[in-house]
Amino acid sequence: MTLLLLAALAQEDDLEAKFTRSLGKVAAAVAEASAPSVVAIEVDRDPRSDGDGFNPNQGAAPDYYRRPEGLVSGAIVGADGWILTSYFNVSGEIRGIKVRQDSKTWPAKLVGYDKPKDIALLKIEAEGLPVLRTAVMEEIKTGRTVFVMGRSPDASRATITDGIVSAVHRFKESAIQVDAEMNFGSTGGPCLDAQGRLVGIAAHINPKSSWGQSGGVGFVTRIDAIEGVLEKLKKGEKIEKAKTPWIGILGADSEDPEGVRVQEVLSGSPAEAAKLEADDVIVEVDGKKVATLAELQQTVQGRKVDQDVTLTIVRKGKEQKVKVTLGENPNE
């Protein structure tokens, strides 16, 4: 028994030694392969107007909370000059943006952004740029190894930090949380899986919090969430706030039948269009039971504006299906 245990431990040691070296080798390979798709971004900002999400008391704050001068990072996502970065990096009164890599410099234009996702899309006049492959997002689960790359403080030198996925459902499903060190310099840079595929963009840096700098709590806006808005951003859309889907009822928990009893159908709402009535009890959304108002809200918020859902309701003791096209909540 003891011998077996010792043998198992020896194997663990062997695995641990191999793990450490392999991690280094994987990081080195990812860094080498992906560095050409990582750019530095130089932002000329009116210092009187620092960007959204920034601490207004930063004048008195220590370096830790202050947006430093110098370069931030971005990732090439289009061979013809499309570059993603964090919205935070280009917030404020911007007088000019340049994209840099090694000795090359391109003037860049801020084409569109999605503020809730903390994503901005830049365009430079270039062709044949190296584009990162996209990760299979179904594989990006808690515990997966990831890397965050950047190109700051030196435009000619890429940086890489390693970590794992700490959590997946963050920022209304649009982001994952990672423990790879992220900071002012690497925000906007790509987060990559162990095969060097693009998982998302390092975003949501929080200069107000104590973990804002290399603290092991970092957020990455998922590439599939970005792809959902990318075409709009390319057309110049500037998304200031998130669209929150809603049905448009006031309701309360119902015990019999178990579900959500409609108390009032709001005027002009999707519920009104679908002819829901007061006293209807919503018991399912797309065949999935909803037992409480909180569950109904959570389910709806996981869907998108303009998406059709089928509600199972109990009206006057009889079950029936009602199709509702989710609208945008005007109150959020």
């Binding site: 450490t20 070296r21 280094g24 080195a28 700051s152 930090t161 900071n183 310099g185």
Partner: protein, 314 residues
């Protein structure tokens, strides 16, 4: 030829984190000295069998006095300043060891890849000096670039390694190791507010600096250094009783008395190591230098307690 090849292959076998720590920790020291800015603490590394130690100029600038060096054990030496180069952030000090030391093996920093696994050993927040615990950290090389601004009192402007292996205060002068346990950099506390990461001066640069300082080093070897801080006493005696090592007498107002050790307490461990008998425990504690800290794990009438003692000069 075949033997050389086998040796080289064996040397390149990946090592466990624990193996790297065990192989290297004996070559890493904590350093404390008095200089114009007051008392400074940092780390250092043995670079010769006869007592030459490389450390940071931030900890031991020229003109430092009362320089002390801690080895894991703890074992305390006094040291003398030998030479230094402020702008390279390098100081050399010398102790007079009672046995040949194990110098750290230098690697090649030019051969290091972005992303490769690394380790740092140092005196994070005085873990080494206060608790006889050299701090050990794992990470990767996360960047390599030039820093021209100087922060945290650093002096070296030039190309640095950036690492995700944690670097904290009092680690300046500590080592950055590759996964073969070779020194590839010396920790500096300089940083950039764009990154807030740890940094190390590449060992290839350190090697050049040492070469420039070789005449000063040779002169110091000839002169020698007085390194004995005096032996220390903890103020208690021990005896074997019923298969245990038991405290026999405690000197009134001595270190043991002040720390709460009482006659009859059974000593279970000394600085984490199990105690076999009174003779070996005595041998272990008699070797302590004045000023060294030691942890005792004792059974005080059924309560297991950890007591920290500082050896007083005999």
């Amino acid at each position: 030829m075949l033997l050389a090849l086998c040796c080289s292959l064996l040397q390149d076998e990946p090592k466990t984190t624990r193996q790297i720590f065990k192989e290297c920790v004996g070559s890493v020291v904590a350093v404390r000295g008095w200089a114009h800015l007051g008392e400074q603490s940092g780390a250092g590394v043995v670079i010769s069998e006869d007592g030459l130690i490389l450390c940071s100029y931030t900890t031991v600038p020229e003109g430092s006095e009362k320089i002390r060096v801690w080895f894991k054990g703890p074992k305390l030496y006094t040291a003398e300043y030998v030479a230094g180069s402020k702008h390279d952030e390098v100081s050399l000090i010398r102790i007079k060891p009672d046995a040949p030391l194990t110098p750290i093996r230098f690697g090649e920093s030019a051969a290091c890849d972005l992303g490769q696994a690394v380790f740092s050993i140092g005196n994070a927040q005085n873990s080494f000096i206060n608790d006889d615990q050299p701090s050990f950290q794992r990470g990767i090389i996360s960047g390599r670039y030039v820093l021209t601004d100087l922060k945290s009192g650093a002096y070296f402007r030039g190309e640095l390694f950036e690492t995700t292996a944690a670097v904290n205060e009092h680690m300046d002068g500590g080592v950055l190791l590759n996964d073969r346990g070779e020194m590839i950099g010396m920790i500096t506390l300089n940083y950039t507010p764009n990154r807030w990461m740890g940094h190390a001066i590449p060992v290839d640069w350190i090697r050049k600096t040492l070469d420039r300082l070789k005449h000063d080093i040779a002169a110091s070897t000839a002169a020698g250094a007085e390194s004995d801080p005096g032996s220390g006493a903890l103020g208690f005696t021990m005896k074997d009783e019923g298969g245990k090592v038991v405290v026999d007498t405690v000197v009134e107002n001595g270190p043991a008395d002040t720390a709460g050790l009482r006659a009859g307490d059974a000593i279970l461990r000394i600085s984490g190591e199990a105690v076999a008998d009174a003779a070996s425990a005595r041998k272990r504690l008699d070797g302590l230098a004045a000023g060294s800290w030691v942890w005792l794990e004792v059974d005080a009438g059924g309560d297991i307690e950890k007591i920290k003692l500082r050896a007083e000069k005999k």
